[in-house]
């Protein structure tokens, strides 16, 4: 705004216009999270799920695979959620499913994000023909409808298991982030510090990796959170229709079996409902973290709290 920009940080907490990047300490990040209610909530939920994924035995005492109980029992002290049609304890299943569901989501989210970054940033920085080709590819994948694609793949790869599942998630999930990253990379490509880096003699790839990407971390993290959110929900949906290995233990496969055994009608509604609740909660955790991350990196979005005099 003002052309005589500044001579010192006279205003408190003055940040550079590129202040989205809060460099420095992990402590800074921790403070940012704890001061933001949404972030705290999201993080708590995520931590709980991570704990359950890592140490399911602490919470659920029964073996989830053991078909030793009476089938279709309602909730009771012994079986918090009852049992399913095969006599397995539902609560144990639910808890043990956390690991796989979380892993699938995180791995798919991570791979998709990496692909987004590579494609989006390269397209923006190199420009020209490379940009045109990559943008075209991005747009094609953006437009491909996911479920028909899955149906086709499912027809060819029954019981391909989790790797196929993750592949499908990545293929359908990377293009949205790539677009966003391309736009942001385009906007900073001609910033002085990047021109300066080139003039300093840095090679192109180094400019991209060492100079551009560090300033884009907030967007990259946001895309990761968003893509993981997508992966959680999409994985559940895909497993529900049978893609992925139904013999593995995850929320989506629980839904699959619940559907196959008409759980809602047969009097074990919790079998169908509880996995859905977990999916929703994990998704919510990522969504909250995403909101909060936006606020942390862009102060303009923060809720204004008036000081009481």
């Amino acid at each position: 705004m003002s052309t005589a920009a500044l001579s010192g940080s006279a205003l408190p907490g003055a940040k550079t216009p590129l202040g989205r990047f809060r460099t420095g300490t992990v402590g800074g990040l921790a403070r940012a999270i704890s001061s933001n209610r949404k972030a705290t909530a999201g993080l708590v939920i995520l931590v709980v799920f991570c704990f359950l994924a890592a140490f399911p035995g602490v919470v659920a005492h029964d073996n989830p695979h053991a078909e030793i109980f009476a089938p279709a029992l309602g909730p009771s002290a012994a079986h918090l959620l009852g049992t399913d049609a095969y006599g397995q304890d539902l609560f144990a299943q639910l808890i043990y499913s956390t690991r796989e569901s979380l892993l699938i989501a995180l791995v798919a989210g991570l791979l998709a994000t990496v692909l987004s970054v590579i494609v989006g940033v390269t397209a923006a920085y190199i420009g020209g023909l490379v940009d045109n080709v990559l943008s075209l590819v991005t747009d094609i994948f953006l437009v491909i409808p996911a479920f028909p694609l899955i149906v086709v793949i499912a027809a060819y790869s029954k019981n391909g298991g989790d790797p196929i599942l993750i592949a499908v998630l990545v293929v359908t999930g990377w293009s949205y982030g790539a677009r966003q990253l391309r736009v942001q990379a385009l906007s900073i490509r001609d910033r002085d510090f990047l021109v300066a880096a080139r003039l300093r003699g840095e090679r192109r790839w180094r400019v991209i990796v060492s100079e551009m990407l560090p300033t884009m971390t907030s967007l990259i993290v946001a895309i990761f959170l968003g893509t993981t959110l997508y992966a959680i929900v999409a994985a559940a949906g895909l497993q529900f229709v049978g893609l992925g290995n139904p013999d593995t233990l995850s929320w989506g496969t629980m839904l699959y079996w619940a559907q196959n055994n008409e759980a809602l009608q047969a009097g074990s509604p919790l079998w169908a409902i509880m996995p859905g609740v977990c999916i929703a909660m994990l998704g919510a955790a990522f969504a909250l973290l995403n909101y909060a991350f936006d606020e942390v990196s862009n102060p303009a979005l923060r809720p204004v709290r008036r000081r009481r005099k």
Binding site: P17, T23, D192, F193, V195, A196, R200, G201, P214
Partner: protein, 350 residues
């Protein structure tokens, strides 16, 4: 402070111009704009200039004059549309290959205008300096690099340098950031630093500090400087010679005080009349409202003629070339340069 830091008045005329550091001949850069119609933006046209060793040359002009484009041409960010640049006698266009280009960039580095965006916010100051040293002075080892980085920071007035090295840009003020820019340029051991409006975004009381750093670079580090600015007062403070640009053309050049006290070109006169000097009486203002220069498909003829109170017919037909108005002082004007005979270029008609 010391005598050496005072402006060396006599130094200017004794400067060896025979072996210039940098020379531009007929430098031209056009940009194509506007989709279907295809107009051409004449950012720089037919520019001749010479920068000697240890000389500070000010390139003055308003927005649209082409001065920033000149800087980028000299820095090899853009390739000239025509004309050539000679660095120490050798044409820049023949510099090919990563290593040779890198060497040139080390000899002719650029300092940018915007203290906010000239440093990568994600890296410390030390990182940028050390990277530059690794690339341009590979003969130094790790300890020497560290020492050199600290040395140039100190020359630029940033003390204690070790402390500054660990800082991130957002922890420094605008003035400090600009000093870092100069320090980085200095670390390559350049012959000529291109400073593109290095102080225009800084507060007034900070600018002088930077200008003094630049003067010190010339005195102590023996570096030439091309100081690009729209601010005549600082150009006068710092430079030995001044070049005035308008609409892509160089319209006047000469020793600074000579040009400022005896401006020849009508544009220079207009510019000087508009500069506020609080210590002087307000100069008589012309009715000129500051119309932006016409650089899109301008055609032949003087580009200042629409605003010029002295314009004649020949001004619309023939583009004026720089001619000597007095020793070492040249201007490109048909009317005010005595004895200038406008050449009618065959075939232009009109």
């Amino acid at each position: 402070m010391t005598e050496a830091e005072k402006r060396p008045q006599d130094g200017a005329s004794n400067l060896v111009r025979a072996d210039p550091v940098l020379e531009a001949r007929g430098l031209t850069r056009h940009f194509r704009i506007g989709g279907l119609r295809g107009h051409t933006l004449h950012a720089v046209d037919d520019l001749d200039m010479v920068i000697a060793e240890r000389e500070i040359v000010a390139l003055v002009g308003e927005s649209g004059s082409g001065k920033s484009t000149v800087a980028r041409l000299l820095a090899m960010v853009y390739r000239p549309t025509s004309g050539e640049i000679l660095f120490r006698g050798r044409p820049v266009s023949s510099i090919r290959g990563r290593r040779r280009v890198l060497a040139y960039r080390g000899q002719v580095p650029m300092v940018f205008q915007d203290p906010f965006s000239s440093l990568n916010p994600a890296h410390t100051i030390g990182y940028a300096l050390v990277r530059g040293l690794k690339l341009h002075r590979p003969e130094l080892d790790r300890r020497q690099r560290q020492a050199e980085a600290e040395r140039v920071l100190a020359v630029a007035g940033l003390v204690p340098p070790a402390f500054i090295m660990s800082k991130y840009p957002y922890e420094l003020s605008g003035g400090q950031r600009q000093r870092v820019g100069f320090a980085a340029a200095l670390s390559y051991r350049p012959k000529l630093i291109l400073a593109d409006e290095p102080v225009s975004m800084l507060d007034v009381s900070i600018r002088i500090g930077l200008l003094n750093v630049m003067a010190r670079l010339r005195e102590e580090e023996k570096v030439s400087l091309l100081y690009i600015t729209h601010d005549i007062a600082s150009a006068r403070y710092l430079s030995d010679r001044i070049l005035v640009m308008y609409a892509g053309h160089l319209v006047e050049q000469g020793p600074t005080d000579d040009v400022l006290h005896n401006p020849v070109h009508p544009y220079t006169r207009l510019l000087l009349s508009a500069v506020p000097d609080p210590r002087a009486e307000m100069s008589v203002t012309s009715a000129d409202v500051g119309e932006p220069p016409r650089v899109i498909d301008p055609g032949e003829g003087c580009r200042f003629r629409w605003r010029c109170p002295l314009a004649t017919d020949v001004c619309a037909e023939v583009t004026p070339r720089l001619r000597s108005a007095s020793p070492d002082h040249e201007a490109a004007c048909h009317v005010t340069v005595p004895g200038s005979v406008p050449r009618v270029v065959a075939g232009t008609g009109r």
